[in-house]
């Protein structure tokens, strides 16, 4: 019999009941909650007289709506304020631990899970948010759900699920200098397309993945959904275990070693068979930028804006043309010659300490271009405090970057950090959809290093890499 994939191992450990001809009822080990996709679910519970089955496996944070201005400033938008208040009330009513704005543990839901050590190998994790796949970097099966499912998990701590197909995305070899985890995942999304991963759980494998830090693995898993896959996984190894050591959510001393022994089993067996395998040669990678309005529209920073004629059919030509029109770009234009108005360094893709260190290393001693507004938004209060201990805030501020409070910020247009119509933004976030960062805004996805270099240059640029 063939061995098991990591996905199959975690799945089997969580089957509550698998009735013939029905979906499997899967147990959920951790349910992360935020203000946007939960109020209607809590209302549903109240309407039906239902409670929360396991408040002790449920954790809430405020992230999407929170302003990133100083904590002393009020939340001016009454609708946002109301949504945050609803989260306060719901968590109090149902006994759920909440990290509200200003709390020492507050931050973007996919940043705080791993950094608090509540995301652990072998777990099933859900959240009403498609980037829940981020947590898969720690060998957990983590996926986004809709509000009806949020209500379902609150009430039952389970979800009826259909088993997914498995895909191995193997990135082999050593990437050229200057290529980051973000470039790796942009290349993967470009290769698979926005629908290529639909119906699959992806396991990222190969030495270029396993040589990444935990933060880098999170960046890769984060964007699984941009390739259409609900979940992305990386096997547990010593990097995972060392990352988790001394985190608040994990046991201490001998108990940690015991738990770590169990974590080491969360890898695919050598003879496991994947339904699909895609291999990418890391040596072919470069710093990437998206040029269009879907994340798969990726080109190398040294490349040019593509022509609609590169599409395989009339449909494709039409959608490329629509993307070019929306982005106000002309085919053949070198990416490096395109000026930007805003640079955003943040989001659950790239707002962890390592991301900020990479950006600060580029920003150090430089000056943000006159034409650019540049924001740095740490993913959590813990990241912010760590960065301040390292003096990164000073480096950014001296170069002319804004240093802001943690939250989702300009990743999506739900809080005061938005683009105005027509503004062009180099962003370390994960979605370049039309209007994602504010109505009429134009988003280009990049790595933190490219974002920082672009802020200084005023047009797309990458830090010089030593030859």
């Amino acid at each position: 019999m063939a061995g098991k994939t990591l996905y199959e191992k975690i799945w089997e450990n969580h089957v509550v009941v698998a009735p013939e001809g029905e979906q499997t009822l899967l147990y959920i080990d951790l349910h992360l909650v935020h203000e946007v996709t939960s109020p209607q679910a809590f209302d549903g519970l109240r309407l039906n007289g239902r409670g929360v089955r396991r408040p002790d496996l449920t954790l809430a944070t405020a992230d999407h709506n929170v302003p990133t201005s100083p904590l002393s400033t009020p939340i001016e938008d009454p609708i946002s304020r109301r949504q945050l208040e609803a989260l306060d009330e719901n968590c109090a009513e149902f006994g759920i631990t909440l990290f509200p704005r200003g709390h020492e543990n507050q931050g973007i839901v996919h940043v705080i899970g791993p950094e608090l050590g509540v995301t652990q190998p072998g777990m099933t994790i859900v959240c009403g948010d498609s980037h829940t796949s981020t947590h898969g970097a720690l060998a957990s099966l983590a996926f986004g759900i809709g509000t009806s499912e949020v209500e379902h998990v609150l009430a039952t701590q389970t979800l009826p699920q259909q088993k997914a197909k498995t895909m191995a995305v193997v990135v082999e070899g050593t990437p050229p200098p200057g290529v980051t985890a973000k470039d790796i995942v942009l290349a993967i999304v470009g290769r698979l397309g926005t629908g290529g991963g639909a119906g699959y759980v992806i396991e990222y494998r190969g030495d270029a993945i396993m040589n990444l830090s935990m933060e880098g693995r999170m960046t890769v898993c984060n964007m699984s959904i941009e390739a259409g896959a609900r979940a992305g996984l990386v096997a547990a190894d010593e990097t995972t275990i060392e990352y988790l050591r001394n985190k608040p959510g994990v046991p201490e001393g001998a108990a940690f070693d015991e738990t770590a022994e169990r974590w080491r089993t969360f890898v695919s067996d050598d003879d496991a068979v994947f339904d699909e395998t895609v291999t990418i040669d890391a040596a072919t990678l470069a710093p990437f930028v998206t040029w269009g309005t879907i994340p798969a529209q990726v080109v190398a920073l040294d490349g040019v804006v593509p022509s609609p004629d590169t599409a395989v059919d009339a449909d494709g030509r039409e959608s490329l043309q629509r993307a070019l029109d929306y982005m106000d770009l002309t085919p053949g234009t070198p990416l490096r010659s395109i000026g930007v108005d805003v640079v955003f360094i943040g989001s659950c893709t790239n707002s962890r300490i390592e991301d900020l260190r990479a950006a600060a290393a580029v920003a150090k001693g430089g000056t943000v271009s006159d034409r650019v507004r540049a924001l740095v938004v740490p993913g959590s209060r813990r990241v912010k405090e760590q960065a301040e201990r390292e003096g990164l805030d000073k480096i950014f501020q001296e170069a002319g970057f804004e240093w802001r409070e943690p939250g989702c910020s300009m990743c999506l247009g739900m809080n005061p950090d938005i683009l105005t119509p027509g503004q062009r933004c180099a962003s370390t976030s994960n979605r370049n959809f039309e209007g994602r960062q504010g109505r009429g805004g134009r988003t280009h996805l990049v790595s933190p290093a490219v974002a920082a270099a672009t802020a200084l240059a005023g047009h797309f640029d990458a830090p010089k890499v030593p030859a």
């Binding site: 109020p39 389970t158 039309e434």
Partner: protein, 205 residues
């Protein structure tokens, strides 16, 4: 959820691929805590354009949206489904869907019909030829028809989703009936409780 068996209505040809949930309902609408009223925000950025198909009088009141490839990718927001239904859509036709969107639709009783790309194109043509044509989606027989044009196609739907739509089942109610199995599972569950990690104010112990 109300049972759904037959949907009869006129169609709207959206003729766009990669319609993500940010387009279906832009995030500024997600600040609301209610479940209703999202219809006004449906495709709100595109509706500013007077030539957008939903602004054309001949498509007013249509209840079946004909989309393109990869409909509903992106964000998990169930608000996208609420917006489509609040606006009056009861079924979507597309050649592929975002996984989470399709799941959310099933929970709300919005029928997602999946057809080959060429069939979607044909349907678009039939609808554009005569916007008053009636379309019929039959969830029991898994067919979509334009009776007046003698056009009919079968579509696939996983049996569980089909059954759920036909019966109007409340998933939560069904799972709650598994209470005994869930409790038994919990006896050996390895899920680490957060009770020992954070105090009542969320500070790490």
């Amino acid at each position: 959820m109300k049972p759904v068996r037959i949907i009869e209505g006129r169609g709207v040809p959206l003729e766009r691929s990669d319609v993500d949930t940010d387009q279906i309902i832009p995030s500024e609408w997600l600040k609301r805590v209610e479940r209703t009223g999202f219809g006004r925000g449906l495709f709100s950025e595109w509706r500013d354009d007077t030539t957008f198909v939903l602004n054309q009088p001949e498509y007013a009141g249509a209840s079946i949206l004909v989309g393109g490839a990869r409909f509903g990718t992106g964000s998990s927001r169930e608000h996208a489904v609420w917006a489509l239904m609040d606006y009056g859509f009861e079924a979507i036709v597309a050649s592929s869907y975002g996984d989470i969107f399709r799941n959310n639709s099933a929970k709300q009783g919005l029928v997602t019909v999946q057809l080959d790309h060429s069939d979607v194109e044909e349907l678009n043509r039939l609808v554009k030829e005569d916007p008053s044509r009636l379309l019929v989606v039959d969830v029991e027989r898994l067919t979509i028809e334009v009776p007046e044009a003698g056009w009919q196609r079968h579509f696939a739907l996983d049996p569980m989703t089909q059954e759920r739509l036909l019966q109007g089942w409340d998933d939560i109610g069904l799972s709650l009936r598994r209470d005994e199995e869930i409790s038994r599972y919990e006896l050996t569950s390895t899920a680490p409780s957060l009770a020992g990690v954070f105090d009542h104010e969320g500070h790490a112990r």
